[in-house]
C-alpha cells in the first residue's frame, strides 16, 4: 500500500493559501485515512451478509470437530504428509483440528468468503450509486481503493482467525492436548506448536490477500457485485483444477492457488523456508499485480453509475 501513499503525495501542487487546512500536517492525513478505514470496516462488518459468512466459517470447525470426534480416528502416528497426517494426529492432539479445518475451508469456503467482500467492494458501491458521492466528497480514487483493499484483507484475516481459533477451542474440548508431533516426526512443545499454528494462519491470510487483490481488480470492471464474485470463484476453482492436471505442471507454480497448501512446510523441522518463500513471493506478486491493475482501471475510467 506504499503505492497509495506515494500517489497521494504526487497530487497536483496547489497554492498553499488555497489549500489551507487541506494539505495539513501529515498526522491529519493519517488520521483522516484512519477514520475512513474505520468507517469502511464498520460498513463491512455490519452488513448482515458478511456477518452470516463469518458465522459460516465459525460453524465449519465446530461441525468438522464434532464429526471427527464421532468418527474417532485411531492414533497411529504421524508419518508422511498431507491431510491424512493431520487426521491421524488429531486423536492424539486437538491442536491438529486447526490445521484440518483450515485445510478443508481453504479449498472453497474461505476464498468464497473473501470473494464476496472483494467482489462487492467497488462494484457494490457502483451499483448503489454511492461511488459517485464518495468520489465527490472527495474521497480520492487511490485513497478509496486502498481503503477498500485494506478492508478486504482485514475481513480475510478475521475470517481466517475465526476458523483457527474456533477449531483450536473445539479441538481442545474434544481431544487431548499436549506436545505437538510435527509432520517430520519431531515433537515440539505445545507452546511452540501453537506458534506454528499462528504462522500457518498468517500464511493463509496472505494467500487470501492475493485472492482479495484479484477480487478488487475484477470489482473495478463491473457494476454487478454478483458477477464479480462469481468471476473470482470461477478463477479460483479453475486454478485449483488446472493445478491438479499433470499436463499443466509446468505452469502450476504460477497459478494463484498453487502455494496455498504449502503451509504444511511450517510443520516440519527444519521449516521448509524455500517452499514458504515461493508461496509468499507468489502471493506478493499477485497482490502487486492486481492492485496495480485495479488502480490503473479505477483511476482512469469514468464513473457512470
Amino acid at each position: 500500500m506504499t503505492l497509495s501513499t506515494e500517489l497521494e503525495s504526487t497530487a497536483p501542487a496547489v497554492p498553499v493559501a488555497a489549500v489551507g487546512r487541506v494539505a495539513g500536517p501529515r498526522g491529519e492525513i493519517v488520521r483522516g485515512y484512519g477514520r475512513f478505514f474505520a468507517s469502511e470496516l464498520r460498513l463491512v462488518f455490519r452488513r448482515r451478509r458478511n456477518q452470516l459468512l463469518l458465522l459460516v466459517v465459525f460453524a465449519f470447525p465446530v461441525l468438522i470437530g464434532t464429526g471427527l470426534k464421532i468418527a474417532a480416528p485411531h492414533p497411529n502416528g504421524g508419518e508422511g504428509g498431507g491431510p491424512q497426517a493431520f487426521f491421524n494426529q488429531l486423536a492424539g492432539n486437538g491442536v491438529f483440528l486447526t490445521l484440518i479445518a483450515l485445510q478443508a475451508l481453504l479449498l472453497l469456503v474461505l476464498p468464497l468468503v473473501v470473494a464476496v467482500v472483494a467482489g462487492d467492494s467497488v462494484a457494490g458501491e457502483a451499483s448503489y450509486g454511492t461511488l459517485r458521492y464518495l468520489l465527490t466528497r472527495p474521497a480520492g480514487r487511490t485513497r478509496l481503493l486502498s481503503v477498500k483493499y485494506l478492508a478486504i484483507v482485514t475481513y480475510g484475516l478475521v475470517a481466517t482467525f475465526i476458523i483457527a481459533i474456533t477449531a483450536l477451542l473445539v479441538g481442545v474440548i474434544f481431544f487431548p492436548v499436549g506436545p505437538v508431533t510435527l509432520l517430520s516426526g519431531t515433537t515440539v512443545s505445545l507452546a511452540s506448536g501453537l506458534v506454528r499454528v499462528l504462522w500457518v494462519t498468517l500464511y493463509i491470510t496472505a494467500a487470501m490477500a492475493a485472492v482479495g487483490a484479484i477480487g478488487l481488480a475484477i470489482s473495478t470492471l463491473t457494476e454487478h457485485a454478483i458477477g464479480a464474485i462469481a468471476a473470482i470463484m470461477v478463477l479460483v476453482v479453475t486454478s485449483e483444477v488446472v493445478d491438479q492436471v499433470p499436463e499443466f505442471s509446468p505452469i502450476a507454480p504460477y497459478l494463484p492457488t498453487h502455494w496455498w497448501n504449502s503451509f504444511d512446510s511450517l510443520l516440519r523441522t527444519p521449516i521448509d523456508t524455500t517452499t514458504l518463500g515461493h508461496g509468499l513471493l507468489s502471493f506478493a506478486v499477485y497482490v502487486v499485480l492486481f492492485t496495480s491493475l485495479a488502480w490503473a482501471k479505477f483511476t482512469t475510467s469514468d464513473v457512470t453509475s
Partner: protein, 333 residues
C-alpha cells in the same frame, strides 16, 4: 431556425460579456469541453460554460442533451475527451482532491446504503472526505439534517425514506460542510409538487448565503423561479448562455390588436413605424420595439379605430426554451 441562430449569436455575445465582466470571478468555467463516448457518440460538444460566482445558474435542456455528462466532468467523475474545465479556479479533474471539499453536489438522484440510517449514511460520507474535521462531524451532520428537515427521521433506515426524504438527505450530504459552490443535477426529479417547493426553497436559502448554485433541470418553470442565469443545452451543445433577462430579450415582444377596422389599424401601425406588421382576420400584430403600448392605444383611439382587444405579447420563457431546444424528439431528425 432563425430564432435559434439569433439566440445562439446572442448567447455568444452574452457569454463574452459575462466572461469579461466576471473575469476571475467565475465559479465554473469550461473551454471547448467535449465528451465523446467510445462508440463515437458526442454527448457534450465543445461547450464554454461561464458561471459567475454568486449567481444561481440554471442548466437547462431536454433529457439526453448532455447536462449530466457535463456535470460529471465538472466533478471529476468523467474525463473530458477534449477541452478544459475549471471549478472555483481549479482545473478538473486533476484538482479534485484540492477543490471538491468546497463543492456540494447532487448527481443523478440520491444514492445511499439502504441498510444504514440517514445519519449513518451522512457519517460515512463525512468519513470519506479527506479534509473534513472529525471533531466537528457530529455537529455538522446534525446541522445538515436540521437544515433539510430530517432531524426527526435521522435514525430511520434509508430504505424507509420517501422519495422526497431521500432527495433531501442527498442535499444534506451536499451541505455537510461550508461550500462555495453547490451543483444540483435535477434536484426535483420525481418529487411531488410539495417536495419540489421544498427543494426550491432550499435552493433559495443556499443562494441567500452567497453560495453559487448550479442547478440542472429539464423543467423550465423550476429554473425560471430561482435562477438569475441560464445555460441551455441541445444535443450536447450550449445553445444559449446568459442572464434570464438576456434570454427573454432574445425574442421581441409584440403588440396584438383585435379590431373590426383592420385597415385603419394597419395605417396607425405604419404611422408609428412598428416593425413586422401582420394583419389576419381582424387581428393585427407587430413588434413592439421601443414604442410604448400607451401611445399605440392613444393613436388607435385618436384614429377612431374600435379596439376590441389590445395585448402586449411577451414570449414566454417556455416558447423561448422550446425555440432553443426543439419541440421534441421528432424535431431532432
Amino acid at each position: 431556425m432563425t430564432d435559434i441562430i439569433e439566440a445562439t449569436e446572442g448567447a455568444a455575445e452574452e457569454a463574452a460579456a459575462s466572461a469579461q465582466l466576471a473575469a476571475g470571478s467565475l465559479a465554473i468555467a469550461t473551454s471547448g469541453l467535449t465528451k465523446r463516448f467510445r462508440g463515437g457518440q458526442v454527448a457534450v460538444d465543445s461547450i464554454d460554460l461561464a458561471v459567475p460566482a454568486g449567481c444561481v445558474y440554471g442548466f437547462l435542456g431536454p433529457n439526453g442533451s448532455g447536462k449530466t455528462t457535463t456535470i460529471r466532468m465538472l466533478l471529476g467523475l468523467a474525463f473530458p475527451t477534449a477541452g478544459t474545465a475549471e471549478i472555483l479556479r481549479t482545473p478538473m479533474p486533476n484538482g479534485a482532491a484540492s477543490v471538491l471539499h468546497r463543492v456540494g453536489s447532487l448527481v443523478e438522484g440520491p444514492a445511499f446504503f439502504p441498510f444504514l440510517s440517514g445519519r449513518e449514511n451522512l457519517a460515512r460520507c463525512d468519513a470519506a472526505d479527506q479534509t473534513a474535521d472529525p471533531r466537528t462531524a457530529k455537529a455538522r451532520i446534525g446541522e445538515a439534517l436540521e437544515r433539510v428537515g430530517l432531524t426527526a427521521a435521522a435514525r430511520k433506515r434509508y430504505r424507509n425514506y420517501s422519495l422526497g426524504m431521500k432527495q433531501r438527505l442527498a442535499i444534506a450530504a451536499a451541505l455537510l460542510r461550508p461550500r462555495d459552490l453547490v451543483i444540483l443535477d435535477e434536484p426535483t426529479n420525481g418529487l411531488d409538487p410539495q417536495g419540489t417547493r421544498e427543494v426550491r426553497s432550499l435552493v433559495r436559502q443556499i443562494a441567500a448565503d452567497g453560495i453559487t448554485v448550479f442547478v440542472s433541470s429539464h423543467l423550465l418553470a423550476e429554473v425560471e423561479q430561482v435562477c438569475s442565469h441560464v445555460g441551455v443545452m441541445r444535443g450536447g451543445r450550449l445553445v444559449f448562455q446568459g442572464s434570464l433577462d438576456g434570454l427573454r430579450h432574445t425574442r421581441a415582444s409584440r403588440i396584438r390588436v383585435r379590431t373590426a377596422d383592420i385597415e385603419a389599424a394597419v395605417a396607425v401601425f405604419a404611422k408609428l413605424g412598428l416593425a413586422d406588421p401582420d394583419a389576419v382576420d381582424g387581428v393585427i400584430t407587430a413588434e413592439l420595439g421601443p414604442t410604448e403600448p400607451e401611445r399605440i392605444t392613444a393613436e388607435l383611439v385618436h384614429a377612431g379605430v374600435g379596439v376590441r382587444e389590445l395585448v402586449v405579447e411577451t414570449p414566454s420563457l417556455e416558447d423561448l426554451f422550446v425555440g432553443l431546444t426543439g419541440e421534441g424528439f421528432d424535431v431532432e431528425h
